[in-house]
Every structure is written in C-alpha cells, then in structure tokens.
C-alpha cells in the first residue's frame, strides 16, 4: 500500500514535471509508436486476412504463422532486431518487432471475420451478380467487421504493453520511466510508470469496446430488441 502511495506521489511530483522526458511527451511517444505500429500491421494483415478468408486458400499457413508468432518472446525479438540492424537503426528495429507482434491478432480477426459470414449469403450475393470484389467489400467486410475490430483491439493492447520496451532501446515512451527506474532502485517510479501504461491500455480498451458496438452491422442485433423499438410496423402483413 505504501509503495502505491509513493508511486502516486511520484506521478504528481516536481521531479516528474522537470524530468528529462516530460510526461506529456512520453505519452505522445507511446501513442505514436502504438498507432503507427498498428496502422502498418493493419495495412499488411487486413488485405492478407481478407484474401485468405475470401478464397479459403492459405488458411493453414495463416493459422500456423499466427500461432507461432504469438509465442514469440517480444523482448527477445526487439533485442534481436536491434542487434541485427545495428544500434543506429534501433528505432527501425523496434518498429519492425512491434509490427511483427501486432500482425497475428489482426490477421486472425480479418480472416475469421470473413470466414464467419454464412456461405449461403455469399453464394446468394454471387448469384445475383456481384463481382468477387463487390462480395468482399459489400458483404464479407461489413459482416466481418466486429471480428476484425476484436483483432485490432487485442493488437492495440498488446502493442501498448510491448511499446513499453521501447525504453530499453532509448526510444522513450512510458517505458522510459520504468527502465530508468530499475538500475536506480526507484520502485515508486517503476510502479508509477506501470500504472500509466495500464491506464492507457484501459482507456484504449474502453474506446475499442465502444467501437465494437458501433460497427456491429444493423439487422443482426437481437430481434426482440428491434421489435420493441419498432412496434408500429411489427406484424403488419397478416399472414406471410
């Protein structure tokens, strides 16, 4: 309990305010890293996932890759890439590592979303004369959106947590405080930094929770709910 009090004291301290990395800047860096990472990962994983989901081809490979990638130790991957690319390009190395870690969840969300669409619906869309592209864009993508958003949500949470390690390669972010605190034995600072990361993750998770509701396609929500909202027209045609 004492430690928590100290951590909160540190969060509001002069010391943090005058730190070489001000809190606002650390937040900004953290969000920037996370956002760019998820954006790049999505640009790769969403088209790939849609292609796999739509054609049904390459599914086994995708499942294998996502499974293996999820087991990758993030810290090891970052250090490895920084070593391989050299310390002067540590930012690039860290980015690549973050992106690689974010891809599996997004890939899985994208192809699972498309796969979850009833094949009869897709068949009907094709039978009335939609092109494959129109089927993907007008049917599979909107109906699969909730699962894609779910994948993005886990990717964001994972990235926000992993970007903390950017501090190790001198890239700043909220991890800076934690990593700087370790050799100094400053447990208040370490815990304070961790609390900030957790708070950021919770806020982002909340936002994605809202987003998940917004993208839920209309027409799929429970019937009773809609019937109640729309009593005037319910059962207007007698028998059919």
């Amino acid at each position: 309990m004492n430690l928590f009090a100290e951590a909160f004291a540190w969060l509001t301290s002069e010391e943090l305010a005058n730190s070489s990395l001000p809190l606002g800047e650390a937040f900004g860096q953290h969000l920037y890293f996370s956002f760019v990472t998820v954006l790049i990962a999505a640009l790769i994983a969403v088209p790939a996932g849609y292609l796999i989901g739509h054609t049904g081809k390459g599914r086994e490979i995708a499942v294998g890759i996502t499974g293996a990638a999820r087991a990758l130790p993030s810290f090891g991957l970052i250090l490895l890439l920084v070593l391989v690319l050299g310390v002067t390009r540590s930012e690039l190395g860290a980015f690549i590592a973050f992106v690689l870690l974010a891809i599996p969840s997004i890939l899985a969300g994208a192809y699972a979303g498309v796969e979850a669409v009833d094949r009869r619906t897709v068949d009907a869309a094709r039978a009335v004369g939609m092109t494959e592209w129109q089927i993907l864009v007008k049917v599979e993508a909107p109906l699969g959106l909730p699962l894609l958003v779910g994948g993005l949500r886990s990717a964001v949470l994972q990235v926000v947590a992993t970007v903390t390690l950017a501090g190790y390669v001198n890239l700043g972010g909220l991890g800076y405080y934690i990593i700087q605190g370790v050799p100094l034995g400053r447990f208040d600072q370490i815990l304070g930094g961790a609390v900030l990361v957790i708070a950021l993750a919770l806020v982002l998770d909340g936002l994605f929770g809202l987003l998940a509701r917004v993208v839920e396609p209309q027409g799929l929500a429970s019937r009773t709910q809609r019937r109640r909202a729309d009593p005037a027209t319910a059962e207007t045609t007698a028998s059919a």
Partner: protein, 273 residues
C-alpha cells in the same frame, strides 16, 4: 428459350450429378424440375446462370452459349430465388430488392421507386421497406427474394425450392401469388421442387428427374397423369394411390368421385374444364 445440350456435371470429388442432359425449356411458361433430393435439380438450375460450370455440353439462352458470356453480366439479367431467400442480413428489405439495380448504376431515387413498386407486386407492405431480413417472417423473406429476383426485369427466373422452408399455409399462399404473378408477367420460369403437388400446380411443363439428372418423363401434368412412362413415374406422381387414384360411383343419378381411401372427393361434371 433455354436449351440444355448433352450437359454433364462431375464435381471435383467425382460425384456425377448430371449426365448427358438434353432439354429445351420454352419461353414465357413455367417448367418445373421435380425429383427427390440429390437427383441433380439444383446443379441443373445453377448451370443456367453459371454458378456451376458444366463439365461437358452446352447451355444456350435464345441461341447464345452461356459459357461465352460474362458470368457476372449473365447473372445480373437472370432472376434467382432460393430456399433460404439468401438475403443480405445487414441490408434493409428495400436495399436487398434494389441490390442489382444499384450494381447496374440505376439512380438511387429511381431504384427506390422500382423497389417499392416491386414490394406491391409481391404483396409486401411498404412499411416493411426499412426492416432487416431477420425482422421478417419466413414467408415475407421469400417474397423479398422474389421481388429481388424480379428487380432487373429479367426474362428468366430461376427458382430453387423457394417455398420449401415455409409452413404449408403460407406455402399455398405463395404458390397462388406466383401463379398470379406469372399470369401477368409471363416470364420464362424454371422452378425446382421435390414436391409433385407443387410441380403439378405451378408447371406448364413438368420434367421428372431420376438420380444423375436422368429425365424419367417430361410433359404437361395432364399428359403425365394420363400416361406415366413407367412404374417409377407412376409411383412418383402417386397415380395409383391417395388423392390421385380416383374412382367414380353413381349415387342418385349423379357421378361422385371417390379417392383411394373410399372418401368422397367431389362431383363429376361431364365436359367441365
């Protein structure tokens, strides 16, 4: 006119669904493919709009080989109605009906007007236009499916057991509406069912199929009842039993029609119909 010329279909897993099928489907009338489940009806129907490609043979629409047409364009000018309605669950009734019109770049207001008019045509209350398919009864969904099939004013309407999943009362109603519609519209309808009663009710021509898409007999309902080609057909149409094995009995100077159970089915009026 749709011509099947020695059409065969073998699926990649080796199933021979259709073998050497020859048939001419006349325009502006209803042709019913009837046969038990798995005999190849759906496969035959889906080869017309190239949802299935034949392994051998040709299908011609008004003399044009469908294999030489663009599949997407072909499908957009053929109406297709299927059992589970196949509506897009995330689109409203009106948007479902006007899907193909919109794909063909019909202006929104015009598509909307046509969509609403089609709702009248198939007997759907316009108040349902903004509903989603999941908010409709099975019968209403099938009506939307028919309206969507009619939206592009196709010459050909393919219907694959469209009333198979609705309850018998609604089915009877939908069958009657289809008869009424067809009297007004005169489309070239190819209708698939496993129900011989439905076939006799709706079909101008009946094609009775055996496994592998083999034609057991084709002709008008009257021709088939009067002269079943073989025991298979006689058995399938029930010519020897139930409500179709009728006999006559003289009662008080009038001729009464009796069914196979010995129950009075009606009175015979000589020369009627």
């Amino acid at each position: 006119m749709i011509e099947f010329r020695s059409v065969s279909k073998q699926f990649p897993d080796g199933t021979k669904a259709v073998q050497g099928f020859d048939l001419t489907v006349p325009s502006h009338s209803t042709t019913v493919f009837v046969g038990s489940s798995g005999c190849g009806k759906t496969t035959l129907l889906r080869m017309v709009n190239r949802m299935v490609e034949p392994s051998a043979g040709q299908i011609l629409i008004d003399g044009e080989d469908v294999a030489k047409t663009d599949a997407v364009q072909l499908r957009r000018r053929i109406g297709y109605v299927m059992q589970n309605s196949g509506l897009l669950p995330h689109r409203s009734v009106l948007d479902n009906i006007t899907t193909v019109l919109r794909l063909n770049k019909t202006p929104k207001a015009e598509a909307r007007e046509r969509g609403l008019a089609l709702m009248d045509t198939v007997g759907l209350d316009r108040a349902l236009a903004k509903r989603y398919p999941s908010q409709l009864s099975g019968g209403q969904q099938q009506r939307v499916g028919v309206a969507r099939g009619l939206a592009v004013e196709p010459n050909i309407l393919l219907m694959d057991e469209p009333f198979g999943a609705v309850d018998p009362i609604v089915r009877t109603e939908l069958q009657q509406e289809l008869l009424r519609l067809q009297r007004d519209l005169g489309k070239t309808v190819v209708f698939v069912t496993h129900d011989i009663d439905e076939a006799f009710l709706l079909g101008d021509q009946i094609v009775i199929l055996k496994k592998g898409g083999v034609i057991a007999q084709q002709g008008s309902p009257e021709e088939i009842l009067a002269n079943p080609a073989d025991d298979f057909v006689a058995d399938f149409v029930g010519a020897n039993r139930g409500k179709r094995a009728l006999s006559l009995k003289q009662v008080d100077g009038r001729t009464i029609v009796i069914d196979a159970d010995g129950k009075a089915a009606g009175v015979l009026h000589e020369g009627a119909a």
